[in-house]
């Protein structure tokens, strides 16, 4: 029987989707652990001690002073280590905002803006998986996946180069066509919507299984 791969799921105060994310990872065959941001900072836990790293959704540090800023700032040096490690990483919703703001995965030319509606948007949305060399969506190219959106700052902006992994099919919750991107290595994916809702969604599990077997 194959050993389950250890997955670190980051928890910062204000994170609010780690439980369902861990359940989805467990169903996908992983061995998820909750890793507290403060333990990483204190050196109790090494950010690279895992086979896969997940930054889940929520409102880390209350989104103060802006979405994703606090975690990106407090973990900056550790995220650099993580980026250099080659470990598959996925940032979901607030996790995407954090990874973008950190600037170490996708460069410094990108930012997350408020949805064009100016509102938080919670509704099911369709995502077309594009041809991108991304480990998280391998084998899913061309498919249209349904996950719920739940965000207010979900519009990717900037002049940085992006590898688009998923685009919105039909109405976009953010106003942007882009739903998910990956870095140049194809191992780091950031997406605004929620493949972990519900955790037993086969479409979501397909993404997590990919990350766990990369």
């Amino acid at each position: 029987m194959a050993t389950r791969r250890r997955v670190s799921v980051l928890y910062a105060p204000g994170t609010n989707t780690e439980i369902e994310t861990m359940e989805a990872l467990r169903l996908a065959g992983g061995d998820p652990y909750l890793v507290f941001l403060k333990d990483i900072i204190k050196g109790k836990v090494r950010i690279t001690d895992c086979s896969c790293f997940v930054v889940p959704g929520g409102f880390s540090y209350g989104d103060y002073p802006d979405t994703g800023v606090a975690v990106a700032e407090l973990l900056r040096e550790h995220l650099t280590l993580l980026a250099d490690s080659g470990i598959p990483i996925i940032g979901i919703c607030n996790g995407m905002q954090t990874l973008i703001r950190a600037g170490v995965f996708f460069g410094s030319g990108l930012a997350m803006a408020e949805n064009e509606s100016g509102d938080f948007v919670s509704r099911p949305v369709l995502h077309r998986v594009e041809d991108a060399d991304c480990v998280w969506t391998r084998g899913l190219e061309g498919r249209v996946l349904v996950f719920p959106a739940a965000h207010r700052f979900g519009k990717l902006e900037g002049t940085g180069r992006v590898n688009v992994v998923m685009t919105y099919e039909g109405a976009s919750p953010s106003g942007s066509k882009v739903a998910a991107i990956c870095d140049d290595t194809g191992r780091v994916m950031a997406m605004m919507d929620h493949p972990e809702r519900p955790p037993d969604s086969e479409q979501g599990l397909a993404i997590f299984r990919n990350g766990l077997t990369a």
């Binding site: 403060k38 989104d63 002073p65």
Partner: protein, 914 residues
């Protein structure tokens, strides 16, 4: 002190900014490299740092920020981030400056915010204030007039008989004087909010409790003794729910009122028993009329549109960060809610059987205050404005209202479960009205069955400048939690608090003295058997609190209605116009633009959320959650209310409302005995006629509860349903919202709303109302109803069991309740949700609202079966068509027009210019 202002603006080249964000940083020393902080506040892509504000003094602006006395929620994080970049910051205020059209409709809460129209001259960002000394009174030396005046001056709301009782207590205690803490504590304990004096005087609470006890439902784990009602679930788990209103705060400050409404009811779940996890929220707000027709002049009353807009912002602003899915959400309007809205919120939770029941503190347990710091938020004394008040001193910036901060409360979502599972606490409670007095005072009443607690007010962590001790004791600062921590678990508990970033402080100890004791002596940690030291604020036996004199309440029967409302005949000639009037009514229109702003899928447990259908814009009547991963168990929630029904016929409306909440569950397949209820009454308690209706409503609900075996297990009454503006009194109709919570062993077998098959038949079951009174159509036509068709209580159980049985047998393919908007609206929604069409065989019957009735989809084959169930009173409504059409007795209705009407109203009410 040095104030540095970092200004950010939207990064739109060539566009003059009309909104600026200003991060005001207070430091002891000048910040040498301000630019090093810029990237904390601006990403340089969507925003940029501006060098300066526009300097033209002729250009008007408003710059809004928190008052000095209010801690900016962003302060702590910004201080920490600046520290990481080597800059020591002492205080922070984040402001926004608006120009031009940005100022249009800008709502500034003057109780919390300050709005500058000229360049602000900031000398400090820290709270300022003048310490108020404790006031002492010799009540025995006061006559009736003086006692009455004292109660009035301090806004104690104690009657003369209650004040006289306090005089007696002073004598019994042998005190020369009593403190303001003494007065305020009794005022809080004996308030309507805590003691329910009005309800007790009328004997209403006991009626509901007696009925619940008589039903003796085996699912019941806890009712009416804790923050929430608790109901058995599966595998040793329990569901719990609680709903509460925040009507007065929402009227005066909608954003803060609605935020703290939700925050408060979530805390009720978090701190029920020995702890629970919130798994769903429900939201219902009834606003007044947008265009004031019934009350043309209400001086100083908040605009209904503002309340509606701020409600959406507040519910999203609190609920989304909490990570609790929104299950059901709806807004309604009615002119009699122009004085005070009905701001109802509720939360469903889950816990273990072991943690389900109210805890009991034990002698020696530590009194631990957890969460937010204590400020002078929501204090009546600080905002009192009548002249000649000797107690009131100049408190600088201390005129606060409650401020919601979900970030702090969200941490207890996780820590609370960890504390529960580690068995750290003997008892838990939340902080709400009356702060420490209510939270720890209530807990201490139960210590080892005899009561006893000592609290040292000097140990309470404060967020404001020096506060009077009665303010510390009564503060309603939000996001605070009270725990009775077992001494042997102290270290473990503190580790959990620290792990989740929660501040926790031991401020007292539980004792077996039978007394509620509060004192102030810095540095002294209370211990069992200690002599009170320092300044003694309160030292009274708990038994005194039970001696509250109840008021004599006048109840007067209403005059008999002699004239019935009349309505235009509904014909094929006007059915489309009538339909347009219904679908475009605010109460039932498309509100998805608000509902989609509430996260309804977080936690990954939502099976049927607040919206459904192919366009995800039709409101659900039944929310279904699957809160246990890997298990099919379902928790179901329904809620019923219609202000127009209560205006027409309050008692019949109460019966029908309860039937609606129950039938919505039963027709989906929930067993009748697996349903529990919550009541939330809203009445003008100063009106004897309203109290007559209230009493009759409770009697009728008790009768229906006993007849159906569905017990009330939680509830709340608000008797302050009156607003007075410039001499105009606005009274809410005597009303009650009924919420039902159910459980099913397999949610996948539930019958949900969406139509499934072309050619299937829709059948209306249950009592068929014939009158239009109280209906949405009646409201649209401007006709005030007078009498409702009441669901026959004696037929309720047979009917409910009948539809439940058929639902579970799989005979129903889809099902919806026939409530607001009647069958017509259900058909329109069915078409919108399914993409199919419908041909109705009935016309006039489409508009009366048969609360308790249901509309079910059945196959042609099954149709014959229903005609064999006379107790279900079947009426064939028509047939589902393959193409998107709406046909009534051969007349094709204009669906596009109907859709436009349905979709247009909500935004008009919220964002129209009135």
């Amino acid at each position: 002190m040095i104030i540095t202002r970092i200004i950010t603006v939207p990064n739109k080249p060539g566009v003059t900014p009309d909104i600026y964000r200003i991060i005001n940083l207070e430091t002891n020393e000048p910040i040498l490299d301000v630019a090093a902080l810029h990237s904390l506040f601006s990403d340089g892509i969507t925003t940029r740092v501006a060098e300066a504000m526009p300097s033209d003094p002729s250009v008007k602006f408003k710059e809004v920020m928190y008052q000095n006395g209010v801690i900016d929620p962003q302060e702590t994080m910004i201080i920490e981030l600046c520290a990481k970049r080597g800059v020591t910051v002492d205080a922070v205020k984040v402001g926004y400056r608006y120009y031009g059209k940005r100022m249009d409709g800008l709502y500034v809460n003057k109780a919390v915010h300050i709005a500058y129209t000229a360049e602000p001259q900031l000398s400090t960002l820290k709270p300022r204030g003048v310490r108020q000394e404790t006031q002492y009174y010799d009540l025995r030396a006061m006559g009736d007039a003086e006692l009455t005046q004292l109660s009035k001056n301090r806004e104690l709301h104690l009657s003369l008989s209650q004040m006289k009782k306090l005089v007696q207590f002073q004598g019994r205690l042998g005190l020369f004087v009593v403190s303001d803490v003494y007065l305020e504590t009794f005022a809080a304990f004996w308030s309507e909010h805590c003691f329910h004096t009005l309800w007790k005087a009328l004997g209403l609470f006991q009626m509901l409790k007696d009925a619940t006890a008589k039903i003796n439902n085996p699912n019941l784990l806890s009712a009416f003794i804790d923050n929430a009602g608790v109901w058995d679930f599966y595998d040793g788990l329990a569901l719990l729910f609680k709903l509460e209103t925040h009507n007065s705060p929402t009227q005066s400050e909608p954003f803060g009122g609605q935020m703290t409404k939700l925050g408060g009811v979530i805390r009720d779940i978090l701190e029920n028993g020995l702890g629970a996890k919130p798994i769903g929220n429900v939201e219902l707000t009834v606003i007044g009329e947008r265009v004031r027709k019934r009350y043309p002049k209400l001086e100083g009353a908040m605009s209904a549109s503002v309340i509606a807009r701020e409600t959406v912002r507040a519910i999203a602003g609190y609920g989304n960060p909490m990570g609790i899915p929104m299950d059901l959400a709806r807004m309604m309007n009615h002119p009699d809610y122009s004085g005070k809205p009905f701001a109802l919120g509720g939360t469903v939770g889950i816990t273990t059987h072991a943690a389900a029941k109210k805890g009991t503190p034990h002698k020696g347990d530590l009194v631990v205050l957890v969460g937010g710091r204590t400020g002078n938020d929501g204090l009546h004394g600080a905002t009192i404005s009548s002249g000649g008040i000797t107690e009131k001193t100049d408190t600088g910036d201390s005129t606060h209202v409650q401020i919601g901060l979900p970030y702090t409360e969200q941490k207890m979502m996780r820590a609370g479960v960890a504390l529960r599972d580690a068995g750290c606490c003997s008892a838990r409670n939340d902080f709400g009205a009356a702060g420490i007095v209510s939270c720890f005072g209530e807990m201490g009443k139960g210590t080892d069955g005899v009561g006893g607690i000592i609290v040292n007010l000097a140990l309470v962590p404060l967020k404001c400048a020096d506060m009077a001790r009665w303010q510390i004791a009564l503060s309603e600062s939000q996001e605070r939690f009270g725990h009775a921590v077992k001494p042997e678990k102290y270290a473990e508990a503190m580790a959990i608090y620290e792990k989740y970033g929660l501040e926790a402080t031991v401020i007292g100890v539980f004792t077996d003295s039978g007394r509620f004791q509060m004192f102030s002596d810095p540095g002294v940690v209370p211990s069992v058997g200690m002599q009170l030291s320092g300044e003694i604020d309160l030292d009274v036996p708990y038994a005194y609190f039970d001696e509250c004199p109840l008021p004599s309440v006048e109840v007067r029967a209403p005059a008999e209605k002699t004239q019935m409302a009349t309505y235009p005949e509904i014909t094929l000639g006007n059915v489309e116009a009538m339909g347009l009037a219904v679908v475009g009514h605010f109460d039932v229109c498309d509100q998805s633009s608000a509902t989609t702003q509430y996260d309804s899928t977080v936690q990954g447990i939502t099976y049927q959320g607040p919206l459904y259908g192919e366009n995800y814009n039709v409101a659900s009547s039944l929310a279904v959650l699957r809160p246990v991963f890997g298990k099919p168990y379902g928790a179901t929630v329904s809620i019923s209310f219609s202000p127009w029904h209560f205006e027409a016929d309050p008692v019949s409306a109460a019966v029908n409302t309860m039937m609606d909440a129950i039938a919505t569950q039963v027709v989906a397949g929930v067993q009748l005995q697996d349903i529990a209820l919550a009541d939330n009454f809203y009445t003008d308690g100063a009106d004897p006629v309203s109290l007559w209706y209230l009493r009759e409503q409770v009697k009728a609900l008790v009768d229906l509860s006993l007849a159906t075996g569905t017990p009330f297990i939680t509830g709340k009454d608000s008797s302050a349903g009156r607003g007075t503006f410039g001499g105009v009194i606005v009274k809410v109709p005597p009303s009650v919202a009924i919420t039902a919570l159910g459980k099913v062993s397999d949610a996948r077998r539930l019958v949900l709303h969406r139509w499934k098959g072309v050619g299937n038949i829709l059948v209306a079951l249950g009592s068929h109302a014939t009158r239009l009174d109280g209906s949405i159509l009646s409201s649209s036509l401007g006709i005030t109803g007078t009498k409702l068709d009441r669901f026959p209580i004696e037929e309720a159980q047979c009917y409910l069991e009948g539809i439940g049985r058929l639902a579970r047998q799989g005979v129903f393919i889809s099902a919806v309740p026939i409530n607001r908007g009647g069958i017509f609206l259900r058909l329109f929604e069915g078409i919108e949700a399914s993409g199919f069409g419908f041909e109705a065989e009935i016309c006039t019957e489409l508009f009366p609202e048969s609360l308790g009735g249901v509309l079910v989809e059945v196959s042609l084959d099954a149709l014959q079966t229903y005609r064999g169930f006379p107790e279900l009173n079947p009426r064939v409504v028509g047939t589902i068509l393959p193409e998107r059409r709406f046909v009534v007795q051969g007349k094709v209705l204009n669906l596009n027009l109907l859709r436009q009407a349905w979709q247009g109203t909500f935004k008009e009410v919220l964002y129209g210019n009135t």
